[in-house]
């Protein structure tokens, strides 16, 4: 589904990402891990065509993302607050997403109900702008905005940040269900190894822009090699 070919991004002459070749198959849940500055967000931004690659290219379904925007019609993503329209209320934001994807009103209401557990009665009907919600609620609104379109490809950067433990579990469950029911390919970055271990069936480890590790994973298990890497990094 996603192919990266000789993809390189430099900031001030330093490689933020340098990947020779990577393919993510349809239906996988891929966990992206690495310490700060590893290149996780840069990789996602390149896949979403937000920044220019200095070399190489990213493809979705065999089509270069920088040449044809067709990927936007089936890709849901949430990387940071710039993916929200902060002067909208959550309802208006979901309306905006629905209108962009041509989702009818009754269908939208039905889909929003799927996320009631995650919203926990704190998001809808409050009359508050997204800007005025807590960081945790904004994170939830962004994630719901990405999932609402029932995407074929879901890209989430640090989706467990700011969330309470219950909400983290709910988000992981929602991603799993979306992958199971719709066959959605998921690319999820996180510093939370437990969540990644529980959720993903493939894990990529980045360090200073280089792909250090790429291995299949059994969801729910731990990976001693991965844990050893992070332990070594602090020694």
């Amino acid at each position: 589904m996603i192919t990266l070919t000789e993809l390189r991004k430099l900031y001030n002459g330093v490689a933020a990402l340098d990947i020779d070749a990577l393919t993510i198959e349809e239906g996988q849940i891929v966990g992206l891990v690495g310490n700060n500055g590893a290149g996780k967000t840069t990789m996602m931004r390149l896949i979403l065509d937000i920044i220019r690659a200095d070399k190489g290219f990213a493809e979705i379904d065999g089509i270069r993302v920088d040449k044809d925007p067709v990927w936007k019609t089936f890709t849901g993503s949430y990387l940071d607050s710039t993916f929200l329209v902060e002067f909208y209320t959550p309802e208006e934001f979901f309306d905006f997403v629905a209108e962009a994807y041509g989702i009818p009103g009754n269908e939208l209401s039905q889909r929003v109900r799927t996320y009631e557990t995650l919203m926990n009665g704190e998001i809808m009907g409050k009359g508050k702008l997204i800007h005025d919600h807590s960081n945790g609620n904004r994170q939830k609104i962004g994630i719901i905005g990405a999932m609402l379109i029932n995407p074929r490809l879901l890209i989430l950067d640090e989706p467990f940040n700011y969330l309470d433990p219950s909400s983290q579990l709910v988000v992981a469950k929602l991603i799993r269900e979306m992958n199971r029911d719709l066959g959605t390919t998921c690319l999820v970055s996180s510093h939370n190894l437990t969540s990644i271990n529980d959720l993903c069936n493939r894990i990529l480890l980045l360090e200073k822009g280089k792909l250090l590790m790429d291995k299949p994973h059994v969801p729910g298990s731990t990976d001693p090699e991965l844990e050893a890497y992070f332990l070594d990094a602090v020694r």
Partner: protein, 394 residues
């Protein structure tokens, strides 16, 4: 009642420092200086009743500003709710406190020097009281309109109306334009400037006939050119939300054009009563609206994506730092031609001929705005990463 008033004043000034009052003080001083300069010049030229009409006309922008800017202040806060304040006492207090509520004092304070200098005694006293009571009455009406119920759980009438409009028209994407203006403290501030332009136009007419038409053009053009462009600075702050979804750049620009048309059209309509009164031909504001939307707006937007994000929720009224002056040299040159045409044509030709040419150019702009914005989109896409990396580095 006294305790409530004392509490209200304490809350009003809680956490405020002297420097917070500098902005409003400068604004009022600005009003006063302009008023004094103009009225010293013209007090002999205009009949006294003209002044009465001028002051009465200010009720309209005053009321509109209150509708746009005020929040519901008719609900007791948590402190009061847990104290023995009866509902009837609270309602009495709300009614009486309209007499010293700051928003209701703004208009009488602003017009006071002109009112007392321009009108003869005792008409000036009567006029001042009428303006003051009118502003208080307007404030009271706005409070009733904004009232949301005891626990603020119900939506205000205006919010309900907006939701109904949106649900029937399905314009969530167009809402990016209109709501960013209405919900941004800075952009709403720009609406205040519009009123100031209108005010200056009123007064300057008395000094020089042509000057009045110049201010009229500024007033009508400002919405379509400047607000539309600031809107792009706002969008730069959440550009990923647009970019990663199937929303085209030309769609955003076309929506912006429609907002510009609404703003300029609205400004032209508002100015018509003034034009009738002052003798400016009524077709002139309509021609200006067509011209500033059809020609001015596209020129202002042609390179507007080359901007840095504007902090939508910045609170300081006068501080536009962060937007970093989004006009480029090419835009300034284009806008100079637009302004030049609008100023020179009525001077060189008759008003009617100037209106026909400006209106005609505006209509051509309307006819070609779609292919024009498609071209702007292609230009944007050719440099998309340069722009987007600038948005990310805010």
């Amino acid at each position: 009642m006294k305790s409530l008033a004392r509490l209200q004043f304490r809350q009003m000034f809680r956490g405020k420092k002297g420097r917070d009052l500098v902005g409003p003080a400068i604004l009022i001083l600005y009003f006063w200086i302009i008023e004094l300069i103009v009225f010293i010049e013209v007090r002999e030229k205009l009949p006294p009743l003209a002044g009465v009409l001028i002051f009465m006309a200010f009720f309209i922008p005053d009321f509109i500003l209150k509708i746009i800017m005020e929040r519901d202040h008719s609900v007791m806060d948590a402190f009061l709710k847990t104290r023995p304040v009866s509902q009837s006492l609270w309602e009495r207090f709300l009614t009486v406190s309209q007499f010293w509520y700051p928003a209701n004092l703004a208009l009488p304070v602003a017009i006071a020097p002109a009112c007392f200098m321009f009108l003869a005694f005792p008409l000036n006293i009567v006029m001042f009281i009428v303006v003051y009571l009118g502003s208080v009455f307007g404030g009271f009406l706005v409070m009733l309109l904004k009232h949301r119920g005891t626990y603020q759980s119900e939506k205000s009438a205006s919010t309900k109306a907006a939701r109904t409009f949106k649900s029937t028209t399905g314009h969530a994407i167009f809402g990016l334009q209109s709501k960013s203006v209405l919900r941004s403290k800075r952009l709403r501030g720009a609406i205040i400037y519009l009123t100031v332009w209108m005010f200056i136009m009123f007064l300057s007419y008395a000094v020089q006939d042509r000057l009045a038409e110049l201010w009229l053009f500024y007033f009508i053009c400002l919405g379509s050119s400047v607000l539309a462009q600031y809107g792009l600075g706002v969008e730069a702050g959440y550009f990923s939300a647009i970019w990663t979804r199937p929303v085209s750049i030309s769609r955003v620009l076309k929506d912006k054009f429609m907002l510009a048309a609404a703003l300029s059209g609205g400004a032209a309509l508002i100015s018509i009563p003034v034009c009738i009164w002052t003798g400016i031909p009524v077709y002139l504001p309509l021609a200006y609206a067509l011209f500033s939307t059809g020609i001015g707006c596209p020129i202002a937007l042609v390179d507007a994506y080359n901007c840095t994000p504007l902090d939508l929720f910045g609170k300081t009224f006068f501080n536009y730092q962060g937007s970093k002056g989004t006009f480029k040299v090419s835009t300034v040159l284009g806008m100079t031609v637009v302004l030049g045409l609008a100023i020179l044509l009525p001077l060189l030709l008759s008003d009617l001929l100037a209106a026909i040419i400006l209106g005609g150019l505006g209509l051509i702009g309307f006819a070609f705005h779609r292919p024009f914005f498609d071209w702007v989109e292609r230009r944007f896409l050719a440099n998309k990463h340069k722009y987007m990396e600038k948005y990310l580095s805010k």
